[in-house]
């Protein structure tokens, strides 16, 4: 039993990591697109951010070095990641539910990291784990884990209720959306119930983490908890293949789409990429393009296909 769980945990973890990396790389490799030109971007100088400006408003901007305000961008990202700031500002009625769900997930991820730390300490520095530091660690992950499971479950239930009852969301909700929320709720419920109702003598979280690290097959994991952990692993592997991997998409949405104000300078990487794109051969049949598989974007841009005689 324990062996099946370990294999599943490692396999699902691997699927999650590989799928996330593949997805991120595939998004990163997409071509540079036409910009939205929405200003200000947070990595601008603070005085320009205040009036919604850009370094492009300076005369001869291409002759001057551009200062990247990393702190400004970091502040924006931290507020967005930690508090879902955009949802708070633009759709507050949904924020309470969504934030409870996401905060719960953050706490669960933190708990997993702390439990792993405790397991490693138990294996390599048992003296530390047996001391006061181990006790503090135990209390911290107990609190974060419990709060995380409760918040995530309530958040998922509240999101589900809103999706089922609010006409604005209901019209656009697919069975997949409902399945995802129910999947989360089921896993969280099984984990909470499995851990709370485990019989005396059953292994705790640190023992299970140590068992996983050492592949200890002698561990006896109660059935309910086993099911919760197994489904939790499957849920983890499932996430990158759904729109729930928006944590990857969000990076590109902000950095490549909303905030990309990199200049196209002579001899630069962007110029080389754009030169390559201009050699692509569009296949649009509309009269203003008449892509025939031979004509390039450069040809289309430098002629008027609509005025050319039809073949």
């Amino acid at each position: 039993m324990a062996g099946v769980l370990y294999v599943c945990f490692y396999a699902c973890g691997l699927v999650f990591v590989v799928a996330c990396v593949v997805k991120a790389v595939s998004y990163a490799k997409l071509p540079i697109h036409l910009r939205w030109e929405l200003y200000p971007v947070p990595h601008e100088e603070p005085d320009r951010v205040r009036h919604g400006g850009s370094y492009f408003e300076e005369s001869d901007w291409w002759t001057k070095s551009v200062r990247f305000n990393f702190l400004g961008e970091l502040k924006y990202m931290a507020a967005e990641i930690a508090f879902l700031k955009a949802l708070w500002e633009f759709k507050r009625s949904l924020w309470y539910r969504s934030y409870a769900f996401h905060l719960g997930l953050y706490l669960i991820i933190s708990t997993a990291a702390l439990v792993l730390l405790a397991a490693l300490l138990g294996l390599f520095a048992p003296g530390i784990l047996a001391g006061a530091a181990g006790l503090y660690l135990h209390w911290i992950y107990t609190v974060t884990g419990s709060a995380g499971v409760i918040l995530s479950f309530l958040g998922a239930a509240a999101l589900l209720q809103r999706r089922l009852t609010d006409p604005e969301l209901k019209n656009y909700t697919t069975p997949g959306d409902l399945f995802n929320l129910l999947f989360f709720m089921l896993v969280l419920l099984l984990l909470a119930a499995g851990y709370a109702l485990r019989p005396a003598g059953a292994p705790g979280v640190v023992a299970m983490a140590q068992g996983m690290l050492t592949f200890d097959l002698s561990l006896r994991i109660p059935g309910l908890l086993f099911t919760g952990l197994l489904l939790g692993a499957i849920l983890t592997a499932y996430i990158p293949f759904t729109h729930m991997s928006h944590f990857i998409a969000k990076y590109f949405t902000y950095h490549s789409i909303r905030w990309n104000d990199e200049p196209n300078v002579r001899g630069g990487k962007m110029e080389a990429k754009l030169a390559e794109y201009l050699t692509y051969r569009p296949r649009w049949a509309a009269s203003h393009i008449r892509g025939d598989g031979v004509k390039t974007w450069a040809d289309v841009a430098t002629t008027n296909p609509a005025q050319e005689p039809q073949p």
């Binding site: 499957i234 949405t253 794109y277 692509y280 569009p282 649009w284 892509g291």
Partner: protein, 200 residues
Amino acid sequence: MKKSVKIADMAKKRREPLIHLENEELMPLPEPLDGPAKDHNWTPLSEQAREKYECILDDTCVVNIPRPQSKKEEDALVQKFLSGLEKLFTRESNWTFLQPLILTMEHCARCQTCSESCHIFEASGHNELYRPTYRSEILRRLYFKHIKKGVFPPLPLFIVLLLPALRGRYRSYGSMLSLTTREFMPVEEPTFIWSMEPFS
């Protein structure tokens, strides 16, 4: 009269537009249009236009796509649309918009936050047809149906661990084999949207 418009309404076989706008329903405007009676009413689409063109959204007909007169013409039009849809997601034909398009196709949470920032939707008096996610959601479903159409990647894992429990439950949404990265979509999605601009 404002009526609720559903995603599936786009696929219904009918000749009348999905909605008809009335000035009373629109967002109030300042002077000199500070009352519904101070502006022209929306002229309903003529019978002739309805019969001649595929205009089923509202009382306007921007892209005059001739209404197909036979099954053969209809199939040809569908194929043109699907061909255009395919080109829309290639680097060669659409490098100019590919990254934002794919990100929004694959990761929209459909939270409707964008609706409240959309001046068209707000000015229409929250008419569903002008909600920014209405037509984009239909395009998204067509994208997953016709462009992605891939096998759900960790399928073997799911077959072993989940399929027995789910057998029969989602049969109406197609077998698990047809799962895409957008999870399972309802089968009642429209197979073709006549009034979307042809991309080919």
